[in-house]
């Protein structure tokens, strides 16, 4: 029977709680109910209501409480019920979670995990589908991790809980119930390593979290067009794996970044900027991005228009100047020094 990402996350939490009794799991509805996505299902029954418990309904409270618990030597793992409901905790995250180690020259650390079910594609009503990873990725002191596979869900969450630094662990909701044949516990590549999910020679698709399956589908569909696309799964946005991404693009010479979040000043912009900084001479075309539109996340009936689709990725790939257009650099050369 296939294992779902939800099951893998649940197993990771349980195994971490078993391995380290300092691990506490808490948040809204994570106890008796087992979380609205059932990611914490059974933990309270198994570990008792001191290890897995519900809190008052207040996200700054949850995150700030976790900061205090971490100061006392515990290892809190908190759940934000949905992406947009982590915003009330933004000050606690940006000013405390991210900075405490640095402020105190390492005397205090905050080894905590903030689990954020995020992104759309599930027909959710407003405020339930935000892709908020860029807010965290732009905040030094946080690690930002997002699995796209069942094995990674397990392994990265275990690593996040063991990590000495705070980790914002972003779980693509639409992948919760996607299954894979695997045996848990799984151990995959560590933080800071991107992974080539599909090798290819003609262009690199760089994606993370919910966009990875889209990129893989696009790569599959691209075979009909005669393109052999490589797909790189970023996995850990912070720390970012420049080496793997750049190596791929240097090999293929072309790159499209795929992300679900609205594009402007998102993680995809960072990836595009880094790739062209590092692979300029290898590039046959600009690094393109396929992102969510620069609009608030739309209502369910329109979300397919918003989300990066296979077609939209293929359109971008088609714009990667395959025709060996003549170098038109001379057009502008006149005005250069």
């Amino acid at each position: 029977m296939a294992t779902t990402m939800a099951t893998a996350l649940n197993a990771a939490l349980a195994d971490a709680m078993l391995a380290d009794e300092r691990v506490l799991v808490f948040g809204e509805d994570v106890g008796q109910l087992g979380g609205v996505f059932r990611i914490t299902d059974g933990l309270q029954a198994r570990f008792g209501d001191k290890r897995c418990f519900d809190t008052p309904l207040a996200e700054a409270g949850i995150v700030g409480f976790a900061v205090g618990l971490a100061m006392s030597g515990l290892r809190p793992v908190v759940e934000m019920q949905f992406d947009a409901f982590a915003y009330p905790a933004f000050e606690q995250i940006a000013s405390h979670v991210a900075k405490l180690r640095n402020r105190t020259r390492g005397a205090l650390s905050v080894p905590m995990v903030i689990r954020v079910p995020y992104a759309g594609g599930i027909g959710g009503v407003e405020h339930h589908c935000d892709s908020s990873e860029a807010y965290y990725a732009h905040t030094p002191g946080l690690k930002v991790v997002t699995p796209s596979t069942v094995d990674d869900a397990y392994s990265l969450l275990r690593e996040a809980i063991d990590d000495p630094d705070p980790v914002v662990f972003m779980e693509p909701k639409k992948l919760y119930f996607a299954g894979a044949e695997t045996v848990l516990p799984a151990r995959t590549e560590p933080f800071g390593r991107a992974v080539v999910r599909r090798p290819g020679r003609d262009a690199t698709l760089v994606a993370y979290g919910p966009a990875v399956p889209v990129a893989l589908d696009a790569a599959e569909a691209a075979r009909d067009e005669g393109w052999d696309l490589e797909v790189v799964d970023v996995r850990t946005i912070v720390p970012f794996d420049d080496a793997t991404v750049a190596a791929s693009v240097r090999r293929t010479g072309r790159c499209v970044v795929v992300q679900e979040a609205q594009g402007f000043a998102g993680v995809g912009a960072e990836i595009a900027a880094r790739v062209q900084e590092r692979c300029f001479h290898a590039l046959h075309a600009p690094v393109l991005r396929v992102c969510g539109l620069d609009i608030p996340y739309p209502a369910p009936m329109l979300e397919h228009t918003h989300l990066p689709s296979v077609d939209r990725v293929l359109d971008a790939v088609a714009r990667l100047q395959w025709d060996d257009q003549p170098d038109r650099r001379w057009l502008t050369e006149g005005s250069a020094a």
Binding site: D29, P56, V125, E126, A299
Partner: protein
């Protein structure tokens, strides 16, 4: 110098004159009464009259009954629509009819309501087109009605955030010389959020005419009240803001209407905000997607069936001879017609123009959005061509 034990033990030279007389109790008029206000017994019998809360008129109560019956039918219909896939999700307020309807009945047409996702019944009771109310949950857009015209803010999902908006709106109205009142619906769980604190405090400091109406239905999804607060009651939060407050039996329609009417009058008179906690119960799960058996006993739910607000009011009105079988049947029919018409209108998929996604991000789309709209337009055209 070291202190000698003798010196330390010596009697201290105490002040002889009496301490300043104790100041008057500053909590007078602010603390809620210990017991929730109740005017009707759960069995529908009228309790002894009380000076603080005069009974609402039977006309008002009969109208309340009518809207509660229609509201309950609407609620059942909405739940049914989720099963038919016409609504993505629906948070029922069955059992909370007295609060849902009482809140809007206490208001003037030009007062403002700040509802949450749970107030679909309140909004339809306010006369907003039920299809527009359900737009959010059907998924064609976020807010289906025109909040400015309906004097009703969009149903608020980020919990407690509307507490602050209402303070601003109400202050803004009075600043502009209008005697509008804002009524905020909020759940027990949401009172734990910082925005509840900031909202009530702003309203108090600016003497904004807001009624904060907490429907304490004892759960925030699965989390019971005991995990939410250690306070004697949620109404006891009022004194910490200098805001008078009251508890009310939220399943007693007469008491709800009486208490809210007084709260609204207080606000309208320029005396600032008022906090009301209604003790009620959510008979259904949090939404149709929730499984309430995971966190509460059937017994508990059963016990609340005996406190049904609709039956309670019906018994009372029948006892007052202002409601008979014929009238009950007529109202039930109104409710059926309402539900049937809704069912019909919700039949079929609405169409939404994908290009409208770009229309309201800003008053005028930015150059970037124009670019993205053109891209989508081209995609749509290509797809249409592909289909043709």
């Amino acid at each position: 110098m070291t202190t000698t034990p003798q010196a330390a033990r010596r009697a201290s030279p105490r002040k002889r004159r009496p301490v300043t007389p104790t100041a008057p109790d500053p909590t007078v008029g602010l603390l809620p009464q210990n017991d929730p206000v109740r005017l009707l017994d759960p069995d529908g019998t009228l309790l002894p009259a009380r000076a603080d809360y005069p009974e609402p008129s039977v006309e008002a109560l009969r109208e309340m009954y009518r809207r509660m019956v229609v509201g309950r039918r609407f609620d059942a219909q909405a739940t049914a629509l989720t099963k038919q896939g016409r609504l993505a999700v629906y948070p029922s307020s069955r059992g909370q009819e007295a609060c849902q309807v009482g809140g809007v009945l206490a208001l003037r047409y030009d007062d403002w309501v700040f509802p949450t996702y749970r107030e679909s019944m309140a909004l339809t009771a306010r006369g907003i087109d039920p299809v527009e109310v359900l737009t959010l949950l059907r998924g064609d857009w976020h807010c289906g009605y025109d909040p400015a015209r309906q004097r009703t803010a969009p149903q608020c999902t980020p919990l407690a955030t509307q507490c602050v908006h209402a303070a601003g709106l109400a202050y803004g109205e009075s600043y502009q010389g209008r005697d509008t009142v804002a009524l905020v619906y909020i759940g027990d769980g949401a009172t734990s959020e910082g925005d509840f604190h900031e909202g009530v405090n702003f309203a108090a400091v600016f003497k904004a005419p807001v009624v904060y109406f907490v429907q304490n239905n004892r759960y925030a999804i699965s989390v019971p009240l005991s995990r939410q607060t250690a306070a004697p009651s949620l109404a006891h939060k009022g004194v910490g803001y200098g805001v008078p407050s009251e508890q009310v039996d939220g399943n007693d329609p007469m008491a709800v209407l009486a208490v809210l009417t007084r709260a609204v009058a207080h606000a309208r008179a320029g005396k600032g905000p008022f906090l009301v906690e209604a003790h009620t119960y959510r008979m259904e799960a949090h939404t149709n997607a929730d499984d309430a058996t995971r966190y509460r006993d059937a017994d508990e739910v059963e016990a609340w069936r005996d406190r049904d607000p609709v039956a309670r009011l019906e018994t009372y009105l029948r006892g007052r001879d202002v409601l008979d079988d014929a009238a009950v049947a007529e109202i039930a029919e109104q409710a059926e017609t309402y539900a049937a018409r809704l069912r019909e209108r919700m039949n079929g998929q609405p169409t939404v123009d994908p290009l409208s996604l770009f229309d309201h991000v800003y008053a005028e789309p930015t150059a970037q959005l124009v670019e993205q709209r053109e891209q989508v337009r081209a995609e749509l055209a290509a797809a249409a061509e592909g289909d043709a």
